[in-house]
Symmetry: C2
Subunit: 480 residues, 2 copies
C-alpha cells in the first residue's frame, strides 16, 4: 500500500513544483511501472490518488494529463506556529460557533455537519424507532461502562479495514469522539503537561487541553502530507530537557481542517518517534472512513505494537453527529480511560448503540459510505471550483482527500473575524481560521463545509463569502 502513495507523492510534488506544466501529458502507466519497478496496478492506484487531488486528469485512450481547464488554487502555505508551548486561547470564537442552532435561513458553512439526508440512512432511522417499541426497551437501562457488546463486536470488524486487529474488549464506547478525545487526553496527561498537535488542528481537542490546564505545542504541518516529523523530532528533543511533552494529538486521515491523508511511511515514522521518546499518540480517525480512495487508509494504531496509541473516533461524520456515539481503542491506557469515562458521563445511551450495531450488522454501512464518499468527492471539486471563481485572486485552498471540509487561505493580514461579521446579515456563516490554532494564528484562513448536496443557495452563499472577502480586501488596500 505504501508504494502507490509514495509514487503519488513523488509525481504530485513534481506537478506542484512545475516540473510538469498544465496541459502536459504525464508519463504512461507502463513507463512509470518500469522506471520505479512497481506493478501496473500500483501506478494506476497512484494516478487515482493524483486524480482525486485534482493533479491529474485521465483522457480516454491517451493517458493522464496535468489539468488545464481548471486552474487549481495554490496550496495553503505551511503554517509557522509558535515554537514553544502556548496556553490555548480562542474559546470565545469557538463558543460563538457551537452556540449556534441549526437554522434553515442560514447557510452554515462553518460547522462540521455531514449530509444526513441520504436515503441510505433510512434503515438506521427505522432501527431507532423499532427499538423504542420493543418490549422491555433496552434503551432505558444503564449500560455497562464499556458500552453495548454487539456494537463493539461490529466495530472490531470494521476496524480491520484500517489494519487494526482488535477485540470487542479493547474498545470503549463514548459519547461522541469528543469524549474519546477528552478521556484519552486525561488518561495520558496531567495538568501542566504539554501536548504536541498538528497545526492547524481541530479546535475541540485544543479546547480540551485548555480546559484541563495543559498547553499545546503546535507543530508545522504540510497541507499534503501532514505533521512535520523533523519539527516534531526537534520539539521532542528539546522537550527532554525543558518541557514535559506527554502525548502527540493529531488527525492523520482526512485531516480537519486540511483534508490530507498522511502517507503510510510517515505514519510509521511518527510511531517510531513516539516510541523513541516514550510519548503517547492520541489519533483522531473520525473522518478515516470518508477517504476518497479505496481501501481506506490505515491508522497509526494499526502499526502500534506496544499499546501507546489511543485511537479516537465516532459515527458523527459517517452517520450523524446527533446520535453522539463514538469509541476509543485506548491500548495500555484502558483502565485509566474507563475511569475517565465513568466520571465524564457514567455510561453511554444504549438505544443509538443498538441501532448502529444492527445497521452495521445488516451490511448497510458500506453502501452508505460509498455513496457519501462519492458525493463528498464530487462536492469537493465543485467547492474548489467556486473558490477559484468567486474568491479574490491569490486565494489558496487545500486538496481534501476525504471528508467534507475545505481550508481556504486569503492573503496575509486578512481578517476572517471581520469577514464573518460582514457575513452575519447575509445568511452565511463560516469557521474562522483562528480557532484552529492554539494561539490564534490563521486569522487569514477559513474553513468551509461542502457536505450537503449542491444547491444554487449554497453556491450563492459561497459567492457571498468570496464577494465579501474581495470587498474587505479592497477596503484594506484603500486605507493603506
Amino acid at each position: 500500500m505504501t508504494l502507490y502513495v509514495n509514487l503519488a507523492e513523488l509525481l504530485g510534488t513534481r506537478i506542484e513544483q512545475g516540473f510538469y506544466r498544465p496541459g502536459d501529458r504525464l508519463p504512461s502507466v507502463r513507463a512509470l511501472s518500469v522506471e520505479h519497478g512497481v506493478s501496473l496496478s500500483t501506478v494506476q492506484q497512484a494516478y487515482r490518488v493524483l486524480e482525486d487531488s485534482g493533479l491529474a486528469t485521465p483522457k480516454p485512450k491517451s493517458g493522464y494529463f496535468v489539468p488545464v481547464s481548471r486552474e487549481l488554487p495554490a496550496l495553503p502555505a505551511v503554517g509557522r506556529p509558535a515554537q514553544r508551548p502556548v496556553e490555548i486561547s480562542q474559546w470565545d470564537q469557538v463558543l460563538e460557533l457551537i452556540r449556534s442552532v441549526p437554522r434553515k435561513d442560514i447557510v452554515q458553512l462553518g460547522r462540521g455537519m455531514p449530509d444526513v439526508t441520504s436515503p441510505t440512512l433510512k434503515p438506521l432511522l427505522r432501527g431507532l424507532a423499532r427499538i423504542s417499541r420493543r418490549q422491555d426497551m433496552p434503551g432505558l437501562y444503564y449500560d455497562t461502562i464499556y458500552g453495548v457488546h454487539e456494537l463493539r463486536e461490529q466495530l472490531a470488524r470494521l476496524m480491520l479495514d484500517s489494519g487494526c486487529q482488535l477485540g470487542a474488549n479493547d474498545l470503549v464506547i463514548t459519547t461522541g469522539c469528543h469524549e474519546a478525545l477528552s478521556t484519552s487526553i486525561r488518561a495520558t496527561c496531567e495538568p501542566g503537561d504539554i501536548v504536541a498537535v498538528d497545526s492547524p488542528s481541530f479546535h475541540g481537542a485544543m479546547q480540551t487541553l485548555k480546559g484541563l490546564g495543559m498547553k499545546a505545542l503546535e507543530i508545522p504541518t504540510d497541507p499534503l502530507t501532514g505533521i512535520s516529523l523533523d519539527a516534531l523530532e526537534l520539539a521532542l528533543e528539546l522537550a527532554l530537557e525543558q518541557w514535559p511533552i506527554k502525548a502527540i494529538q493529531l488527525t492523520p486521515n482526512c485531516n480537519n481542517p486540511l483534508g490530507y491523508i498522511m502517507p503510510e511511511s510517515r505514519k510509521r515514522a511518527l510511531l517510531t518517534l513516539a516510541q523513541r521518546f516514550d510519548v503517547a499518540i492520541i489519533e483522531d480517525d473520525v473522518y478515516g472512513e470518508l477517504s476518497y480512495t479505496y481501501p481506506r487508509p490505515r491508522t497509526i494504531k494499526s502499526f502500534d505494537d506496544d499499546g501507546r496509541v489511543l485511537l479516537c473516533s465516532s459515527f458523527s461524520k459517517t452517520l450523524a453527529p446527533g446520535l453522539r456515539i463514538g469509541w476509543v481503542a485506548p491500548g495500555r491506557y484502558l483502565e485509566r480511560v474507563l475511569h475517565m469515562k465513568y466520571i465524564s458521563t457514567g455510561s453511554t445511551a444504549p438505544q443509538p448503540q443498538i441501532a448502529i450495531a444492527e445497521f452495521l450488522k445488516s451490511g448497510n454501512f458500506e453502501p452508505h459510505l460509498r455513496r457519501m464518499r462519492t458525493q463528498y468527492q464530487r462536492n469537493r471539486d465543485l467547492m474548489i471550483d467556486w473558490v477559484s471563481r468567486y474568491f479574490p485572486t491569490g486565494t489558496r485552498a487545500s486538496r481534501p482527500q476525504g471528508g467534507f471540509m475545505l481550508w481556504v487561505e486569503l492573503p496575509e493580514g486578512f481578517d476572517t473575524l471581520r469577514l464573518n461579521r460582514a457575513l452575519l446579515g447575509q445568511g452565511v456563516q463560516i469557521a474562522v481560521g483562528s480557532i484552529f490554532s492554539a494561539s490564534g494564528k490563521y486569522r487569514n484562513c477559513l474553513r468551509m463545509n461542502y457536505a450537503a448536496k449542491p444547491t444554487p443557495q449554497i453556491e450563492e452563499a459561497v459567492r457571498k463569502v468570496g464577494a465579501a472577502a474581495i470587498k474587505l480586501l479592497a477596503e484594506e488596500r484603500a486605507t493603506d
Copy 2:
C-alpha cells in the same frame, strides 16, 4: 413549609429516643396545634411525614400511634469518617459494580436502576419512535451546546416546584447527572483542591474528585437530617488556615444512599455557611422528584441569591437512566460549565431531549411521578420489613423519605465485600458500603435497591442476603 418539617422532626426525635413507646398514642392534632401555635393542617402534614418514615400509624377515628406491629430496625449510626481530606480509593469496587451488565438471572440489588416498566412511560417510548420517523429527523443534527430549547423551557417550569425561579437560558442540558456533576466540579475546583462531601456519599461524585486529582473531606452525616452543619463549619474554619476547600458537594433530597431529606432550615443554614466561607455548593437533586411527601422538597438552589449553587440533576431516576439526559443550573459558573461540557461531550443527543420535552409538555410526567412515588414508598416498607425478618438481629436500616434505596448497617467489623463474594454464586448482587466512602469506611454496610415491583424472586434474593450475612457472622464468631 418549614413549620411542618420542624414539627415532624421534633416528634420524630422524641419517638426515636423512646419518649413515646411502641403502641403509645401520639398527641392529637388539635393538642399539637395549640401547643406549637401552628395550624391544624401543618400538624397533619407533620404527621404525614412521620407516617412516611414509619414512625406513626393512623388509626381511623382515634388518632396517631407509635407502630407496634412492625418493629422498625434501629437507624444506622452517624458515620465517623476521617477528619482530614483524603485521597479517594475504592475505584476497583466501583468498577466491579459498573462493569456488570443487566442480567435476567441475577437480582441486581446493587445498582441505581429505577423501575422502567411502568405503563406511564409508554407515551415517552412512542415519542422516541415518532421522532425517528420524522421528516429530516432532528435527532441527527448537532445541537447547540446548551441543549434543546424546548426541554430547557419545560425544565424551568418543572423547577418551580422545588422553589427555583430560573429561565431556560440558566440551564445547560448534560449527558446524565454524571456530566452535570463533573462539569460543576471542574468549573469550581482545581486539581489539588478539597471538596467537602456528605458521608456516606454517592460514589460517582467521589470518583470524579479522584479522577480530577482532588481530595474529599467527608463530613459526618445524620441519617435523618443530613450533613452535620457543626462539623462542616469546623472544617471550613480549619480550611481557612490549612486546606483549600472550594466546594461542598451533597445530595440533600432523598439522599443516596441514606434516603433522608434535609430539613429546609438546615438547607438555609448550609447556604449561609457557604456564603460566609465563600465556597460553592454542588447540589445533587437527582432523586428530588421522588420524595414521598408532596409538595416535593425545596432545593438549596431555590434559596441561592448570589449564584454560588450549581444544581445537578437528571431524568435517570424519574424516567430512565439509559436516556442519559440530565441538566445543570450553574449560576455564576455558567461560562466555565459550558467550556467543561464542550470538552467532555461536545453536545448532548437531541432525540431523547425532544422526546422528554414532549412528554413533559403533554402533562405525562406528573402522573408518572405520582405512580412511581407511591410504588417506591410501598416497596420501602416491604423492604424494611424483609430486612427486619431476614437479616441478623441488630441490623440497622435507614428510613428513606424518597427514592428507592435502603442503607443497611450490619454489626461493626462485618465485611460486605466478603458477603458480596458469598452471594456471587446465588444470583444476587448488592452495593457494598465501602464505595460510599472516600476512604473505604462503611465496610459493614450495604445498599439495596427496592425500585422494582415486589416479586417472590426479589424477596428470596433479600432473604439470601440476610441468610448469607447470618452465616458469615456465625463463622466469624466461631473463629473468634
